[in-house]
């Protein structure tokens, strides 16, 4: 194809700029990746030696070699369960109500703005709130329950916003089709909207939980300890009704606290512990994300949109 010479030069110039941007982009990406890889590698190299079954099954100890994360990961898990059970239903239901049912007026617009803002409130503020309200006013103490509720409040805005966004992405055509058949609002939401938006909602939930599992400030504020030598009581009991809720009221510790506690110790050995624990925490988060990604993939495949 015959292209005039000056046009060709213009094209060359544009292409060069294209290449420059690609190079810059790759450099930025490389920087970010290298940073992460470096941190990760450092963590692995320092803490790898400590990763053995004992580490997972021992309590913390003054002697670094014997110290383990048993209390920490059990504590984190228990707190996450409470957080999840509180934040997910509340968040999704709120999101559904706000998006599908609430009338569009100034009041709801105000609520929407506030929820988005809440997502940006520093987590320590939640800790202070929890201290005053849950620990002292409701007398729940520095327990798994308190921590769970606190973190649930923390991630609630994330879940609500993610739910609303996911619901908003459902094409109006599907809704109209359902309504035109004579479905009520709830039938439309339950049978169609939720199905469509579940991947998006799940993403939001996992983002929230991933954030919660790593939060230190609020749970420190409410009184999680960094040294604890016992586990919360088991959730099952031998007597009727075979379910015990005692573990909710138990004092606890969590992974971030344990890590922080160890890094503040001068001994080298504890640094290794801290690195190992951090590695476990990262892997736990990655595992949660992987579950989320898998769930989303399965749901998207079924929906086929």
């Amino acid at each position: 194809m015959a292209v005039p010479v000056d046009l060709r030069r213009v094209i060359e110039r544009a292409k060069r700029r294209d290449v420059i941007f690609v190079v810059l982009g790759l450099a930025a990406l490389a920087f970010a990746l290298c940073t992460f890889v470096a941190l990760f590698a450092n963590m692995v190299s320092v803490g790898w030696s400590r990763l053995n079954p004992d580490f997972f099954t021992s309590f913390a100890s003054r002697r670094a070699e014997n110290a383990g994360i048993l209390a920490a990961w059990v504590g984190s898990l228990s707190v996450m369960i409470v957080t999840g059970l509180v934040a997910v239903p509340l968040g999704i239901a709120s999101g559904i109500y706000l998006e599908e049912y609430a009338p569009r007026n100034r009041m709801t617009a105000l609520i929407e703005i506030n929820i988005s803002n809440l997502a940006g409130v520093p987590s320590i503020v939640y800790g202070l709130l929890a201290l005053g309200m849950f620990v002292h006013y409701f007398q729940l103490g520095a327990s798994v329950l308190t921590a769970g509720l606190t973190l649930a409040l923390l991630i609630l805005p994330v879940v609500i916003v993610a739910t609303r966004e996911a619901i908003r992405a459902v094409p109006g055509a599907i809704r109209e089709a359902a309504y035109a058949l004579g479905a009520t609002r709830w039938q439309t939401v339950k049978d169609h909207v939720l199905q469509y938006s579940m991947p998006g909602i799940l993403t939001g939930v996992i983002i929230g939980l991933s954030r919660a599992i790593g939060e230190t400030a609020p749970i420190v504020t409410i009184g999680a300890v960094s040294f604890i030598a016992f586990l919360p009581p088991p959730p099952v009991s031998t007597t009727f009704p075979f379910l015990s809720f005692e573990w909710l009221w138990s004092p606890f510790t969590a992974m971030p606290i344990q890590i922080f506690g160890w890094t503040s110790r001068p001994e080298e050995a504890f640094q290794a512990n801290a690195s190992a624990a951090a590695l476990v925490l990262v892997l736990m988060t990655l595992a949660m994300n992987a579950v989320a990604i898998w769930l989303r993939y399965r749901l998207r495949r079924n929906l086929n949109w």
Binding site: I174, A177, Y179, A180, L181, T184, Q195, Y196, L303, N304
Partner: protein
């Protein structure tokens, strides 16, 4: 003289039963009046087409029938749409829109099957009407798919997701979904404007077959389609009903100059 009176070739209007009668229907989007005092009869088991340029209000008019405007805030109806044989005003605030939508079904412009299996798509309408029996659902789904001329193409894969069908098949699926509910009036909102000519032709064939059992109201921006498919044509312009009559007359000897202009392409 035998050929002066065209009406002789067609039955006299007074011998036809109306399925629905629109009386002084006006409609407001907030402050803006979209429909101006429309009076129209929709005759039983006949196809009535609504034509007119964009923005004339034909889709707005159609969506009044099944109260779709109720889903969005700020809309107001005035006037009546009476549905026969029980002579109920569909627009009355005392009448539940859900009930109205259970009696009338709608097929939309862009095919919008649910992202579920073909079977579930057609069965959904029946499920929300309380049908639980699996065998009844299977029978009704088959009947509806046959009525939509889709059964033979999908009978082997009822559990496949509906979105794997072609555009024309998806639209026929939507028609089957609408038919499964035994509607008294079938509303088509530009059903073929998103389809290729062959799919369009198959839908038009289907409409031709359906008209013997069910009353159909179809909005189309394609005049030739209205001419091919309908018994009656209504021409609308800027919210007014300009002319209504037998399709043969409207396309051969329209009474209003506005209609003539639109149909002969003297203005868009």
């Amino acid at each position: 003289m035998t050929r002066m009176n065209d009406e002789r070739r067609k039955p006299d209007l007074s011998t036809l039963t109306p399925k629905a009668q629109v009386r002084d229907l006006s409609f407001f989007y907030g402050a803006k009046q979209a429909l101006k005092s429309i009076n129209l009869s929709v005759y039983d088991r006949k196809v009535t087409a609504l034509i007119g340029p964009s923005g004339c209000g034909k889709s707005t008019f159609l969506r009044c029938f099944n109260r779709m405007h109720d889903l969005y805030p700020g809309n107001r109806y005035q006037g009546e749409i009476r549905l026969f044989p029980d002579d109920v005003n569909l627009l009355s605030p005392q009448v539940d829109p859900i009930e109205v939508r259970m009696r009338l079904s709608m097929v939309f412009q862009k095919p919008n099957p649910f992202p579920k299996s073909i079977f579930e798509n057609v069965a959904y309408g029946l499920r929300i009407r309380g049908e639980r029996s699996r065998s009844v659902l299977i029978d009704r789904v088959e009947e509806a798919l046959k009525g939509a001329a889709l059964w033979n193409e999908v009978k082997e894969r009822l559990d496949d997701v509906a979105t794997t069908l072609s555009g024309g098949q998806q639209q026929r699926l939507c028609i089957a979904r609408a038919l499964a509910c035994d509607p008294e009036l079938l509303l088509f909102d530009e059903p073929t404007s998103a389809l290729d000519p062959i799919a369009t032709a198959s839908i038009e064939e289907l409409i031709h077959e359906l008209r013997e059992k069910i009353t159909i109201l179809i909005v189309t921006h394609n005049m030739q389609q209205a001419a091919r498919v309908s018994d009656f044509t209504a021409y609308m312009y800027l919210g007014d009903l300009v002319e209504f009559g037998w399709t043969d007359d409207v396309f051969f000897r329209p009474k209003q100059k506005q209609t003539e202009d639109y149909i002969t392409g003297r203005f868009g």
